[in-house]
């Protein structure tokens, strides 16, 4: 028991062998439910998908037509899949340069004791409560091209002399429309994450900066943002994974069209696996998506660790 009092040296304490044995037993007990859920509902389906991805299989009857890596070959040479990957990256980039800065700005704006703060906070978070399909339905109606039906074109055509925009019907506008809807839905969630992070920065640090004569912008740049880095990492991580896997909202809004202009990897997978009944092929797409996410996840954690050894990604 004596080692407990070695001046709070946690490392030494935690690594003591008796504690470790006791911890292992407890951990086993505490992790069993999670592991059961994971092996049954996640690991097992992943293994199944991997297995089927080597077959040319419609999903009916046993999978017998083994094709090796041919599905993968076809996917990786398909220009539509390349488009899907590109669109995924586009959403990632747009999220990082538009959505995240806005949500940080919002969080900073509504943090002070200003009147109406909780009202704004509640409203900004509200879209997150909507399901993706409902959000999609609402935004489809906003983007209707006919100005007498679509609200956004009704506003747009108030400018004299402009033609109504085609929005979801135009291959070059559709991704922007989809991104606006995605931002609308997820802005509040990220704002909330940042508010949590901000609440944790002691006011004294910023006040000290004020005394040193720093401007608002200087404070945010040199004090607030660096202290927010842990939250930013979590938010970026969740945002990138969500962007890469995006399905529901886009499916409702554009079905990946027109002519594949808003295709994402998950939509590509669904179209092949479910609509074209090429299930083996669809599984291979799923495996590739998983790998891309995995590569991102691992390299991101590496990167973050290199930057700041102590600040863990999720802590």
């Amino acid at each position: 028991m004596n080692d407990l009092f070695i001046a709070g040296n946690q490392h030494k304490y935690i690594l003591s062998p008796q504690k470790r044995n006791r911890d292992t037993l407890t951990a086993l007990f505490f992790l069993i439910p999670t592991l059961i859920f994971f092996f049954i509902f996640i690991i097992y389906p992943i293994i199944q998908s991997l297995y089927y991805s080597f077959f040319n299989w419609k999903g009916f009857g046993p999978a017998i037509n083994f094709v090796g890596l041919r599905n993968y070959e076809k996917i990786l040479t398909d220009s539509v899949f390349a488009k899907a990957v590109g669109n995924g990256l586009l959403i990632v980039v747009l999220s990082l340069i538009v959505q995240l800065p806005i949500s940080i700005a919002l969080a900073i704006m509504v943090r002070n004791d200003m009147p109406g703060r909780s009202f704004f906070r509640t409203i900004f978070f509200m879209p997150f409560v909507f399901s993706e399909s409902i959000a999609g339905i609402i935004w489809v109606s906003m983007f209707k091209p006919d100005p007498s039906i679509g609200f956004l074109n009704a506003i747009w055509t108030l400018i004299p002399g402009v033609k109504p925009l085609e929005f979801l019907g135009d291959t070059s506008q559709v991704m922007m429309c989809v991104f606006i809807a995605l931002t609308w839905k997820y802005l509040g969630f990220h704002m909330l994450l940042y508010m949590a992070g901000l609440a944790n920065i002691p006011r004294e640090i910023e006040e000290a900066a004020i005394i040193d004569g720093a401007s608002n912008w200087q404070i945010i740049r040199n004090v607030t943002l660096p202290l927010l880095s842990t939250t930013i990492r979590t938010s970026v991580y969740l945002s990138v994974l969500g962007s890469l896997q995006q399905f529901g909202l886009i499916w409702i809004m554009s079905k990946g069209g027109p002519v594949n202009a808003s295709e994402t990897m998950a939509i590509y997978m669904y179209r092949f696996g479910f609509m074209r009944l090429a299930l083996g092929y669809g599984c291979a797409v799923g495996v590739i998506l998983l790998l891309i996410c995995l590569i991102f996840s691992v390299s991101y954690q590496r990167l973050v660790k290199q930057q700041d050894y102590l600040g863990g990604l999720y802590s």
Binding site: V140, P145, D146, P164, T171, L277
Partner: protein
């Protein structure tokens, strides 16, 4: 190791959560009936069939699962892939049914149809839609065709005297409509299938039955001149920009609304079009007596006749594990009387002989006559062909409408898929 572990864990889960499936007494038979009549009054008709049958056969339970179109397809695909078909299943026939039959997921009801003259209730062509490889797996319930639904008032205003019977007349009328300041045609580009009708109808008018059959049995090809020319003919229309703004992002509801509210002059659509137009119009009535219908025009010099029809409908197929009671129930919901009831409720254009008495709508009668008298009836390409090819057809034709694919590329893309799926 992992496998063993997961087996053990699954067993644990089974013990913890398994719910006894022996809810029904052993001697009671359950018939699982999946259909897509979600609308309240139509669902009630189905429920009444089930209730009446259960009242007459107390040892049978009819379990109805009703799902909306898209959800139904997703669910059925998963369940079929899981090897566990329900007993009576809504079906559109064609390529998907073929896949099910090949995988042994359906029950062969050829012998049942031969008994007591059940077979004679239907036209041979309609019944064939629900068969594969010379065997019957189901029966037709609804059969109609695609044609142009138009607004007679807008046609008059544009100075069109008679409905077009040839493609060049049609194009000229489109120009007249455009000049008169209306949207000539509404089309749902995002949904793809409404756009697909144009190309497939043109192909059928140009090449007739022979061209399609040759491409299908692989003595010909979908890259043959017929199918390339269909693309060019269609391109003539597309280049006139006859559609509503942003049509590539429109869904079928939008299309129906545009015609139903008198904003667009026509749409190429199936027997259900007037209902959807009415549902999406301000007064819920649609075009009323301003509505007109004409068949897809002939292409000059084409092998197909203007009387040839392209269409489809719905039917019911029987799952592999279906008990005999399921077939008995299927007969029960498909007698001439039952079909007449469904026709009266606006659910179907009936296929059972003698059920026409339920039809009062003049357009539906007109369509039924056109279907019955068609020298060549073709099930929609996207139903008839294997799912993969069907999707390629829809995707490529969308490309043609968007101007990103040429007629040759469209034909070649379809041929590539057909070569793989049918070859």
């Amino acid at each position: 190791m992992t496998r063993k572990l997961s087996v053990i864990l699954s067993l644990v889960l089974v013990c913890v959560f398994a719910v006894s499936s022996a809810a029904y007494a052993a001697d009671k038979v359950t018939v699982r009936w999946w259909h897509i009549f979600t609308e309240e009054s139509q669902k009630a008709v189905c429920q009444k069939f089930a209730d009446d049958y259960m009242a007459a056969n107390p040892d049978v339970t009819i379990e109805m699962t009703v799902m909306e179109n898209e959800a139904f397809k997703t669910k059925l695909t998963t369940v079929m892939q899981g090897g566990n078909p329900p007993d009576i299943i809504h079906s559109w026939g064609g390529g998907v049914l073929n896949d099910y039959a090949k995988a042994g997921l359906l029950r062969d009801i050829t012998a049942d149809l031969d008994k007591d003259g059940w077979r004679d209730l239907y036209g041979a062509g309609a019944l064939e839609t629900y068969g594969a490889g010379g065997k019957n797996y189901g029966i037709p319930n609804d059969m109609g065709m695609i044609g142009f639904w138009y607004n007679t008032e807008l046609f008059e205003k544009a100075g069109i005297k008679a409905v077009p019977t040839t493609w060049s007349e049609f194009l000229a009328d489109v120009q007249l409509l455009k000049d008169s300041g209306t949207i000539p045609i509404a089309v749902a580009g995002q949904d793809k299938w409404p756009a697909m009708y144009y190309w497939t109808y043109l192909a059928s008018r140009i090449g007739g039955k022979a061209a399609f059959d040759a491409a299908y049995d692989r003595t010909g090809s979908f890259a043959d001149p017929t199918f390339v020319e269909a693309g060019y003919k269609l391109k003539e229309l597309i280049d006139m920009e006859p559609f509503q703004d942003g049509f590539l992002g429109s869904i079928y509801n939008d299309e129906g609304g545009l015609v139903g509210n008198g904003k667009a002059a026509m749409e190429l659509m199936g027997q259900w079009a007037p209902t959807v137009q009415a549902d999406n119009s301000v007064d819920k009535k649609g075009l009323g007596d301003k509505l007109g219908w004409f068949p897809f025009p002939a292409v000059e010099g084409g092998a197909g006749s203007v009387a040839d029809a392209m269409g489809g409908g719905g039917g019911f197929i029987v799952g592999k594990d279906a008990p005999d009671e399921a077939i008995d129930f299927l007969k029960f919901i498909n007698t001439a009387e039952a079909q007449a009831t469904m026709a009266k409720a606006g659910m179907v254009i009936p296929c059972a002989k003698g059920a026409e008495v339920g039809l009062t709508d003049p357009f539906k009668l007109q369509i039924k006559a056109a279907v019955d008298n068609a020298p060549y009836f073709q099930l929609y390409y996207d139903q008839f062909l294997p799912s993969a090819t069907a999707q390629v057809i829809n995707d490529s034709i969308q490309g043609l409408f968007a101007g990103t694919m040429t007629p040759e590329e469209v034909a070649q893309a379809i041929e590539d898929s057909a070569a793989e799926e049918l070859g």
